[in-house]
Amino acid sequence: MLAIQVAELRFATEEGVLVLDRLSFGVPREGFVWVVGPTGSGKTLLLQILLGEVRPHGGQILLLGRNIRRIAKRHFRELRRKVGYMPEEPNFLPNRTVLGNLQFKMRALGVSGEAAADGVERALDLAGLRPHAAARPEALTPLERKALSLALALCPDSSVLFVDDPLRDLDPGAQEALLAILERTNRAGVTLLATSREAALLLEHGFSPGPGPRGIVYLRESVVK
């Protein structure tokens, strides 16, 4: 069963640059797939389309079995609660602790009580942030900040995670550590679709080009129509 299914996806900018041209791929449930391509190849755009923030010019997208272009807004929001997004630039609340950040998101999304506590515990454990729960984001290392961004994306109870260029701006050691965190998150049953500009590190970690639960999808550079 596929968690994410993209078929014949097309997108061109207003200037006529064809960014996504009949892109098709699938991510099985509990799979971990990377989308790799150079800057401007449409990696972030692809995630924005999958999140329903940008409308494509053609193609079909099934997210957890639902066609996101035909689903009612209210139902799409319910679906979105199961889909986490970790942006390229970590976004957190600087005036709250790590725990406070996670609790804010839970409460702002209307999750409270035991469900909120469980969700926060899970996110802290998967992101490896339990020792830093009381720390303010400014006291965290770049890796830990990425981990906080991941933990926030896991709240309230994401079963699918879109991760935008997580390895960017990290030293090789931190990249390895973040990959380990992502692998742990995946093993916990979360489907991951991540983007990156380089495939070398991914190939070293057992990801292989083409379809599959640990596949790599390559995007080519955008072309002018």
Binding site: R81, G110, C155
Partner: protein, 261 residues
């Protein structure tokens, strides 16, 4: 609903530092409401002086007089020191009364002796009849100073509502930007990050309407009964009641007019 209340509470707490701007915004709403109340209740015009009566002489002219004769006669009368003004009237005109024959209207100077002037006019050749008319002169009515002030207050107030509202909302958005981003990226309903802004605006409007009510209530105690302002007193319950919804709607304008980042 719980999520909305939580987000609104967090938004308002994050913006406690901007309470001064919020208060000024509310005051501008008060200014608009007070100006509108004044425009609604104050008399539109005030006479520039007391009414007075004026005597006119209507001279019916002989049909034998030529136009040159009438012209010469008018110039002759106008040259008299006790005459202020002379004008022609033709059949069909209705001022100062319906005219059936060619006539002249003679307006004496206020200090002149009307009886002596009437006798002099009756002796003129070509004048068949002299009628004396009395009319009441109502002085020009001019807008009251308070009304002009209210119009200026309304315009300035409306400008300030928009200007301060857009500025307060812009700063509030900047303080809340991280939270807003987080909620957006979570796919939360726009109600969660737009709603608190609407709440802030409605709060400013209601606060302004409350100050409007307080000002009017104080006014009821201190306005002297013999001034034009006393005409506002019967309107106060209506104005105060209408002030709350109007104030809230007014303060909502900047929410829709300010650019959403």
């Amino acid at each position: 609903m719980r999520a909305f209340l939580f987000a609104s509470g967090a938004f308002l707490r994050a913006n406690l530092r901007g309470i001064g701007g919020f208060f000024l915004w509310a005051l501008s709403v008060t200014l608009v409401l007070l100006s509108t109340t004044a425009l609604w209740g104050l008399p539109p015009h005030q006479p520039s002086g007391p009414a007075s009566s004026q005597r006119l002489f209507l001279l019916r002219l002989s049909p034998l007089l030529s136009e040159q004769d009438i012209n010469r006669l008018a110039w002759e009368i106008w040259a008299w020191p006790e005459v202020s003004h002379v004008s022609f009237r033709f059949p069909g005109e209705s001022e100062p009364e319906p005219i059936q024959e060619r006539s002249l209207v003679v307006e004496p100077k206020p200090e002149s002796d009307p009886d002596g002037l009437g006798a002099r006019l009756r002796k003129l050749l070509g004048v068949t009849n002299v009628a004396v008319l009395e009319r009441t002169v109502v002085p020009a009515r001019v807008p009251s100073v308070a009304r002009i002030g209210a119009i200026v207050g309304l315009l300035v107030g409306l400008g300030l509502v928009l200007l301060l509202g857009i500025r307060v909302l812009g700063r509030a958005r900047a303080r809340w930007e991280k939270e807003r981003q987080l909620l957006r990226q979570s796919g939360a309903s726009p109600l969660l990050w737009r709603g608190p802004e609407v709440l802030l605006a409605v709060g400013a409007g209601l606060c302004g309407a409350g100050l409007h009510l307080a000002t009017l209530t104080l006014g009821m105690r201190f306005i002297p009964a013999d001034t034009a302002w006393a005409q506002l007193l019967p309107l106060i319950p209506w104005a105060a009641g209408a002030g709350f919804p109007v104030g809230a709607l007014l303060a909502l304008l900047p929410v829709f007019l300010s650019p959403h980042s």
